[in-house]
């Protein structure tokens, strides 16, 4: 904040207070030959109770208009003196010599007003973040509600059917055990969802250890290989042999790689290939890329695949938590995950991890 003053204009002296960004916050018009002031004590009180300009949005032109100024600041400007009307109702006259003091004090006052406005802005920003958070939670809750509701509905139906069978046709044990099996399946599904959510919520701090990336990726490839073979999916490894040392959380990274492989298997379905590549970008990053020759991802979905509960899998098959979990893990590992895809050709998910921790 800067106090600008002493520009004589006709018989008037203009004093302006400028904000840090250069915009006029307020200004006072005063006649040079103002009456002598009435003592310092009321000046202090005056300055401390001076009403700050409303909203700080006073335009330069407005602030030189005595009547508007009066409306805006509560100060009444007269021809020869400033008579400030304060919120307390006190009236104060000041003259030339004391102006600097008035402005210094009122400047401080305005500085405080600006600080207050900043605080308000911070508060509003926080509110905004909070409401965005709430919106996200709302979306998440809707997702959870929806995901859990379906199995519960099925469990309810099956239980109802079992009750009916037990009452009317107790001999149909085959059908009853069918229903029971379905109930167990749906309970498993609920458990799967809640477990994933708990893993989310736990936010466990990673434990960084030296990791042989090729080895880790190879182990995960082995887990999918057998199934891949049965479905005529080739698993191709292209590993760079001299990767820089990587310090990361091994089980978390395994989780990410396995999720990507699982998605790739699903996208390919039958007949095709999954290519796993490891490489280094200089000495700074280690990259793991999982590409597939699967169905690909439509442009309109690309922005949503990392959202919790976004899934295109049939009802009851995917939780839609896989990729959002991967994203969360990569954040915690200090890395990044990105995707490129073309419908009908395939998709490619890239992980970049900082080589040195």
């Amino acid at each position: 904040m800067k106090i600008r003053g002493g520009q004589p204009r006709g018989r008037r002296l203009q004093l302006g207070v400028r904000g840090r960004d250069g915009g006029a916050i307020s200004a006072l018009n005063i006649n040079r030959t103002g009456a002598p002031m009435s003592g310092s004590e009321p000046l202090d009180r005056a300055a401390s109770s001076l009403v700050p300009p409303t909203g700080g949005k006073t335009r330069a032109k407005d602030s030189f208009d005595p009547i508007r100024h009066q409306l805006l600041t509560g100060a009444i400007l007269l021809a020869t003196t400033i008579v400030a009307l304060f919120s307390s109702g006190a009236v104060l006259a000041v003259c030339g010599a004391a102006l600097a003091a008035v402005h210094w004090l009122s400047g401080r006052r305005w500085a405080r007003a600006i600080e207050k406005a900043r605080e308000e802005k911070r508060f509003l920003d926080e509110q905004l973040i909070q409401s965005q958070k709430l919106a996200a939670i709302g979306e998440l809750s809707a997702g959870i509600g929806h995901e859990i509701n379906n199995p519960i509905a099925i469990i309810g139906q099956e239980a109802e059917w079992m009750r009916h069978l037990l009452q009317e046709e107790p001999g149909k044990t085959e059908e009853i055990s069918d229903s029971l099996r379905e109930i167990v399946r749906q309970v498993e599904r609920c458990r799967d969802i809640t477990q994933k959510l708990l893993n989310f919520a736990r936010k466990m701090e990673p434990v960084f250890q030296g990791v042989d990336v090729n080895r880790l990726v190879d182990d995960m490839a082995k887990l999918v290989e057998k199934e891949a073979k049965l479905r005529s999916i080739r698993v191709i490894r292209i590993f760079q042999s001299d990767l820089p040392a990587l310090f990361t959380d091994p089980p978390l990274l395994r989780q990410v790689v396995l999720n990507l492989l699982n998605n790739a298997m699903h996208a390919v379905g039958e007949k095709g290939a999954i290519t796993i590549t490891t490489s280094a970008s200089g000495r700074d990053f280690v990259n793991i890329v999982v590409s597939d020759t699967g169905c690909g991802i439509p442009k309109e979905n690309l922005g949503r695949i990392f959202d919790p509960f976004f899934t295109t899998k049939p009802q009851g098959q995917g939780t839609g938590l896989g990729l959002s979990m991967c994203h969360g893990i990569m954040d915690r590992l200090g890395g990044r995950i990105s995707v490129s895809s073309e419908v009908g050709k395939g998709s490619s998910f890239s992980l970049a991890l900082p080589a040195d921790k």
Partner: protein, 142 residues
């Protein structure tokens, strides 16, 4: 190498006996039991650093045992041993907090390496906990 305590859980008695013997030969304090229930019982009174756990066992299977173990001993690291690799069981195991997967028949060197890493992790985890950096117990995987 530091000597740490290993528990092997597998229903194939032959395999169990051999591997426990071989691990002991390598200087580890190894114990074997042939079921998940027995393993959990043993954990009531004893302390282990690393567990080797067979996925496919009659009765209480590996995944259920894993869940229970991680609930009781969140810092104890568990390596899953599997005869038939499957994406589904891998996903579940790692989600429930398994440190790693090893395919049967397990290569002893590979297993040793993984166990050493698992033990290192447990030590790091505990160090961090005692130095108070991780704060709440909620930051622990389990």
């Amino acid at each position: 190498m530091e000597k740490f305590r290993v528990l092997v859980v597998d229903d194939e008695i032959d395999f169990l006996e051999t591997i426990v013997k071989r691990l002991q030969k390598r200087g580890l304090d190894a114990t074997g039991v042939d079921s998940g229930v027995k393993a959990l019982k043993l954990l009531e009174g004893e302390h282990f650093d690393v567990v080797i756990l067979d996925v496919k066992m009659p009765g209480m299977d590996g995944l259920d045992t894993l869940k229970e173990m991680k609930r009781k001993r969140p810092f104890m690291e568990v390596i899953m041993l599997t005869g038939h690799a499957s994406v589904e069981s891998g996903m579940q195991g790692i989600q429930f907090g398994a440190f790693d997967y090893v395919m049967k028949p397990a290569n002893l060197d590979e297993l040793m390496e993984k166990m050493t890493q698992a033990y290192e992790r447990k030590t790091l985890h505990e160090e961090r906990k005692s130095s108070g950096r991780s704060g709440a117990a909620g930051s622990v995987r389990g």
